[in-house]
């Protein structure tokens, strides 16, 4: 059973010899340590090229990327288990908790938990937008409300009172901050007089609320946004799909590596070029995604982290990902080309020792 970690050709060639080595050692069943050792070396044998250490590094990188992408896809699917965005009735109840007595005049609700530019539900008709003009606009949807006052109000007092009321009603206040995105141009400017942004973020169960007052826009306008927290199914789904994707990536890489081992030079060059291109297309967006998410998370802290696809630079770099998928398929097609008989025989002989 444990020999299944080795590729089929290897098992055919070495399986009986390995089993008999265990039997010679008086072991009918491998110990836990021996089992782990067989698993580890079986996975290594799947990569072929016994002399190469670099192949392990490349396989690990490819496998990690496959794992990240499959985990992202699974998390996206798991978001389907989240409740829809709050409707008008739920919004009125929640806003009434924070600001009792205020009438809600206008409620804007995104069509889905994630939407393109917050206004377009992702569908077959607009899916291609993700790879072109609206790649960066696929984001969390929200139910948004604006509350007006005729006269400027004491924002500090209003936000503090809202926070207290929310706490009293079982909400956990995660952020209550005051800042400004303006800067003094010269020494005559008083920093204390710059327009301020007030922000309060709280969550209860699967609902997140954000209250904002931006003095530079309107000193008596409260922006309220309601969103859903990451559903509980997202984490196990992401981990399971990530592990499966990484395993599949390792197997596919191993297959291509064994197929091209000792093959025609042109085939190896083709497969190598397509593989390098794939790693580039898939890998380049990751540092950009990481940097962007960390900046957003630091600028606007929230009890909910950005979804994994944003961390790997998607869908902003969706077109690069798509091209990478194309080069990966071309690389696999190159690896599937017939092997030179002499090389194939040589490879088998070498493996046999």
């Amino acid at each position: 059973m444990l020999l299944r970690f080795y590729p089929r050709g290897y098992r055919r060639e070495r399986g009986r010899e390995m089993v008999d080595t265990f039997l010679d050692a008086g072991r009918v069943r491998p110990s836990f340590r021996e089992a782990l050792n067989l698993m580890r070396h079986g996975m290594r044998a799947r990569l072929g090229r016994p002399q190469s250490r670099g192949v392990v590094v490349w396989a690990a990188m490819f496998s990690a990327m496959c794992g990240l992408f499959t985990a992202s896809a699974a998390i996206w699917l798991a978001w389907g288990t989240a409740r829809p965005l709050p409707d008008r009735a739920e919004t009125s109840r929640i806003v009434g908790t924070a600001f009792p007595g205020r009438d809600i005049i206008e409620v804007y609700r995104s069509p889905d938990l994630f939407a393109i530019d917050r206004t377009q539900r992702l569908s077959v008709d607009n899916f291609h937008w993700l790879f072109f003009e609206f790649a960066g606009e696929y984001e969390f949807g929200a139910t948004a409300v604006r509350l007006y006052d005729d006269d400027p109000f004491d924002t500090v007092k209003i936000m503090a009172a809202a926070g207290e009321r929310m706490r009293a009603n079982g909400w956990q206040v995660d952020v209550n901050s005051v800042g400004t995105d303006q800067h003094c141009a010269d020494s005559r400017c008083d920093p204390a007089k710059l327009s301020k942004d007030y922000r309060l973020v709280a969550h209860r169960d699967d609902t997140i609320i954000e209250l904002k007052v931006m003095e530079s826009v309107h000193p008596a306008l409260i922006w309220v946004e309601l969103q859903r927290a990451t559903p509980g199914a997202a984490h196990p789904a992401g981990v399971a799909a990530g592990l499966l994707g990484a395993l599949a990536g390792w197997m596919v890489f191993g297959w291509a590596s064994r197929r091209t081992e000792g093959g025609y030079l042109v085939v190896r060059a083709l497969a190598g070029t397509f593989f390098t291109a794939t790693m580039f297309m898939w890998g380049v967006p990751i540092p950009f995604g990481l940097q962007a998410v960390l900046r957003w998370q630091s600028d606007k802290p929230s009890p909910r982290w950005y979804p994994l696809w944003e961390w790997v630079g998607q869908p902003y770099f969706g077109w690069l990902f798509l091209v990478g998928c194309g080069t990966a398929l071309l690389g696999l097609a190159s690896a599937a080309l017939p092997r030179r008989r002499a090389f194939a025989q040589h490879a088998t002989r070498v493996r046999r020792g």
């Binding site: 390995m18 010679d24 020792g353």
Partner: protein, 119 residues
Amino acid sequence: MREATFLILTALASGSLHGYGIIREVAEMSAGRVKLLPGTLYTALDRLAAQGLVEREREEVQDGRLRRYYRLTGDGVEALGFETGRLRELATAAEQRLAAARGEDGHPGPVRNLKPRHA
């Protein structure tokens, strides 16, 4: 060269051996300190064969069990000789410095009071 690789080559230096024979020989040479697991052994044999240091000599079935015998190639003998020489030089250098440290050459040495770390 890793210690396990060196020991596998050394085990094969005195003649061809099958898988379990190599495991036994390595354990004996290292006084039981190095216990090769089959997964490690066959990965190492694959690598050594790909490097042209080891080759398969013959195979036979004894008591219904398949035994493949491996032996050193000419390159394998050369590689083992080179590594042995390298290790000997290092061991000699270490012995000379230890002798000086213990004062066996008449000098008290700078580290007389050092205790072995794993005493």
